[in-house]
Assembly symmetry: C2
Homo-oligomer: 141 residues x 2
Amino acid sequence: MKALGRHILAEVYGCDPTVINDVEKVERILVDAALKAGAEVREVAFHKFSPQGVSGMVIISESHLAVHTWPELGYAAVDVFTCGEHVDPWVSMRYICEAFGAQNVTATETLRGILPEKNSASNQSGRPWQPGSVPAQAVAG
Amino acid sequence: MKALGRHILAEVYGCDPTVINDVEKVERILVDAALKAGAEVREVAFHKFSPQGVSGMVIISESHLAVHTWPELGYAAVDVFTCGEHVDPWVSMRYICEAFGAQNVTATETLRGILPEKNSASNQSGRPWQPGSVPAQAVAG
């Protein structure tokens, strides 16, 4: 029994307000974070709120990155969720925290898609892993 | 000390594969789930993978909904993250699970943005709550 993916939820405090209130910077940071971990970017959507704050998400082949910022608090809620074996979500998370100038971070990693072996049998098709399919090595144990 | 938001991570098993492999249906379900909870939809991005699987996210004023599906396993990873007092993330989550025809769901709720009172003082500005700001009732305790 193995998991399909790893999902990090991070509480990112003491961020630089000028960075996390800048939608273009935040988008660039999240996209770069995905690329640095070797992920493949599929869709990007960001939104700037008035008077302040940014929300955004990057859909990657391996799942997603998401962010919501409260510049007035120096706080950002950051998620990095990756599936498969070849992308390390912590690479992305570390990059984002550094780029936000974070002074304090607490993070938890949750395993997603923990499936019993009987469900895994149907996925050993030998086709290359991609989201929506299952990496054989991740489920066959 | 209170939290800015509530983030539900759900493992949704036994889904109808024809539903969770249909990107248009999945998008409609997530958008409807947001609306049924009274959330305000800001951005929508979905992607259909080949040979199967859907990933997508809905940015709402109150944070986001996200989904990744493995139709061949009948499995979906679903997130609903809402901030503020007026949107209940469980309303959205229940709607999604029902619409996916789920037979089994496990879910956890995590509080996001737990801030000390000293940080809360600057947010009692009386302006209407919106993402990027902080609902006074959620931080003033």
